[in-house]
């Protein structure tokens, strides 16, 4: 993922233009547009907001409101890898709280924090649908079940935390 300062306003404008064009025919296109931008940039650049607003004929505040409503959207890049740990009840019944506490303590992070080397961002997630094989986690979109502390250490080491 790129750092925001590596993006020129021109790059943001061009990419946003492409994404807007690709979603022109959809009914209710705003979420797919934001998802496409985030998958390209790793976050949603502030500069894209007025451009989206103009193309969809809605207010900038409305675009901003949508971006800030959803947990998935970021206004700055995450670490190179995102580790999501399930906090929901079924995983709690299988020891998720202890796993999460130990992981955050080991990395010296709070939820949503990123390690100092920029390798890993740790986020809570409320259910991955792996409720019969918890505690569950997801590393960059790859699901992992029955995560114990040894497994978590291995995942973090692999991610370079």
């Amino acid at each position: 993922m790129q750092k925001p300062n590596h993006l020129t306003p021109e790059e943001v404008r061009c990419r946003t233009e492409e994404v807007l064009a690709a979603h022109a025919g959809l009914e209710g296109p705003l979420l797919p547009i934001l998802q496409a931008l985030q998958s390209g940039f790793g976050f949603i650049p502030q500069e894209a907001v007025p451009q989206i607003a103009e193309a969809l004929n809605i207010g900038r505040a409305e675009v901003h409101g949508v971006i800030t409503f959803y947990h998935d959207f970021r206004d700055a890049p995450a670490g190179r890898h995102v580790v999501k740990i399930c906090r929901a009840e079924a995983c709690q019944a299988q020891g998720a709280n202890a796993l999460a506490d130990a992981t955050l303590a080991k990395l010296g992070l709070q939820w949503h924090g990123t390690t100092a080397n920029g390798a890993v961002t740790v986020e809570p997630v409320y259910c991955l649908g792996l409720c019969a094989c918890g505690p569950a986690a997801m590393v960059d979109g790859q699901v992992v079940g029955r995560v114990d502390s040894a497994r978590m250490d291995a995942l973090l080491a692999e991610a370079g935390a």
């Binding site: 079924a90 019944a93 409320y126 259910c127 649908g129 409720c131 019969a132 094989c133």
Partner: protein
């Protein structure tokens, strides 16, 4: 040699990809002509990765496997230490009534031929020969109710949309399965996606809608991939498009991905999200059936409701209706999760008692400690103590015991569970996920966390305050998020008072 290694997310989370690769390598090394199929899961998650080998007698299972176990599948399958015998004969499978999930784990999820060979499309073919009113009547007669949790009769919802006059109507599938302890939607979409597509087409025929959406949560990347591919295949084979199966009836659909908001599982919030807005709840009326997506009449149904429609048309409404208990007709895919010996999906007629489910089917806790509490119906469902284990699994039956069946998730906790902590978590979750539109939910959830902390510190005066707050949230919230958060909270307080009292004494 035909070998099945599940591609379901739960199986993959337990190492199925490495097993699949080992199977391919072992076959290549031995010069075996291999057909490897990445099926869905059978739902026996404790046995995943569950590998199956096709034999003239049936499919033989091996599990849970890791890559090191694979060589034995080729060299000495009869004496493999993880051989399970015929998969269909395993008690977990043999005890079920798999109607909605009949094909899940059996077929190649993305093979339309395999789908049709196992009864797929026969429901749709029958529906194509019926008029809209007759299709709706069939669903009404089946007794099918919303499997998302609300339990509203599906036929009545469809009839409302059918009767509405508009230039466009929509079918929206709610695949925002955010409830902890539930994974039936995910399993269906990953293991048998054409069933959902078929159900949505039938819904479209019934109400006169030509466009469908699946609103699928972003936490399910595997399901998103499979559903997206299934829609492409359906389109390329004339199942979707301008002439469904050559009938000159038009229906097409899109997969839309959520953005990590639990509240978007609430239908009006989902519709706002689909329109590209903040996922805030809409006041009802108007009903989505009359003014839904883009203000047009819209059927919003859960994945399992829609995926059950094909079997109703294939076998007939009466066949389906004859299963069940009281006003809960047909089958329900129980999702057994948390601290259990045997976790997974178990489809059965309504009516099993909670105790049978927890003690017999799930086999008690994995840790071997006594069961303390069972949360049924997701994070907004009540915690049931053992004293209520005779409650039969049905909409009214659970309601009568101060609970709800929701999306049929059953999460088991052993005696180490801290129920005050679980009650606090319910408020914390509500505060994180509240859409913010109504005050009881937005403010109440935050005050709830603070009140729980007072109780934890030993402040007995906070308990009446908690009860009062729960009353306010229950009566005053716009949707089930704020309105049902009191279920886990009050059930924890009512059935497990020791967890609240002990803390109080300790602090004194």
């Amino acid at each position: 040699m035909r070998v099945y290694v599940p591609g379901d997310a739960a199986a993959r989370a337990l190492g199925a990809d490495a097993v699949a690769q080992a199977v391919q390598e072992a076959a290549a090394a031995r010069g075996v002509d291999l057909t490897l199929i990445r099926n869905g899961t059978r739902g026996m998650i404790w046995l995943e990765p569950l590998v199956e080998i096709e034999t003239p007698e049936g499919r033989i299972g091996f599990g849970p496997l890791d890559a090191a176990d694979v060589a034995g599948l080729f060299d000495n399958p009869a004496n493999h230490p993880k051989a399970l015998g015929l998969v269909e004969a395993l008690p977990w499978m043999a005890q079920q009534t798999r109607l909605t999930f009949a094909r899940c784990g059996v077929i190649d999820p993305l093979s339309l031929e395999d789908y049709a060979a196992h009864g797929g499309l026969s429901g749709l073919r029958r529906a194509l020969a019926m008029d809209a009113a007759a299709i709706v009547a069939e669903v009404t007669q089946s007794g099918l109710r919303g499997r998302g949790g609300a339990g509203f009769p599906t036929g009545i919802k469809w009839e409302t949309v059918r009767g509405a006059v508009a230039d466009r109507k929509y079918i929206v599938c709610n695949a925002d399965e955010g409830d902890s302890g539930t994974f039936a939607d995910r399993m269906m979409m990953e293991g048998d996606p054409f069933t959902l597509i078929e159900g949505m087409i039938i819904a479209g025929l019934a109400v006169g809608a030509t466009k469908g959406f699946v609103y699928l949560r972003s936490e399910y990347p595997d399901a998103i991939k499979v559903m997206g591919r299934a829609v492409e295949i359906a389109r390329a084979n004339g199942l979707l498009g301008a002439s469904v199966l050559g009938s000159r009836r038009d229906f097409d659909m899109e997969i839309r991905v959520g953005a990590g908001a639990y509240v978007c599982g609430e239908e009006t919030s989902l519709l706002n999200s689909l329109e590209g807005k903040r996922g805030v709840v809409r006041a009802k009326p108007p009903l989505p059936a009359l003014e839904g997506f883009m203000g047009k009449p819209t059927v919003v149904n859960n994945v399992i409701s829609l995926a059950t429609v094909p079997v109703i048309f294939e076998r007939g409404a009466a066949f389906y209706r004859d299963f069940g208990l009281g006003r809960s007709r047909g089958t329900i895919p129980l999702q057994i999760a948390g601290n259990v010996k045997r976790g997974g999906l178990f489809e059965t007629a309504f009516g099993l008692s909670l105790g049978e489910i927890v003690d017999n089917i799930a086999g008690g806790t994995l840790t071997g400690r006594p069961v303390k509490a069972v949360q049924v119906g997701g994070p907004l469902g009540a915690y049931f103590p053992r004293a209520k284990f005779d409650t039969p699994f049905g909409y009214e039956e659970f309601d009568g015991q101060g609970g709800l069946i929701g999306h049929a998730g059953v999460v088991v906790f052993d005696e180490t569970a801290d129920m005050l902590g679980m009650a606090r978590f319910a408020f914390e979750f509500c505060a994180v996920e509240s859409c913010g539109k109504c005050t009881p939910c937005r403010i109440g959830a935050v005050r709830g966390v603070e009140t729980m902390d007072r109780i934890a510190r030993g402040d007995a005066d906070a308990i009446p305050l908690l009860t009062d707050l729960c009353e306010t949230m229950k009566d005053g919230s716009l949707c089930a998020l704020g309105g049902f958060t009191p279920y886990p909270v009050m059930s924890a307080l009512t059935h497990f008072p020791d967890d609240f009292a002990t803390t109080r004494k300790a602090a004194e």
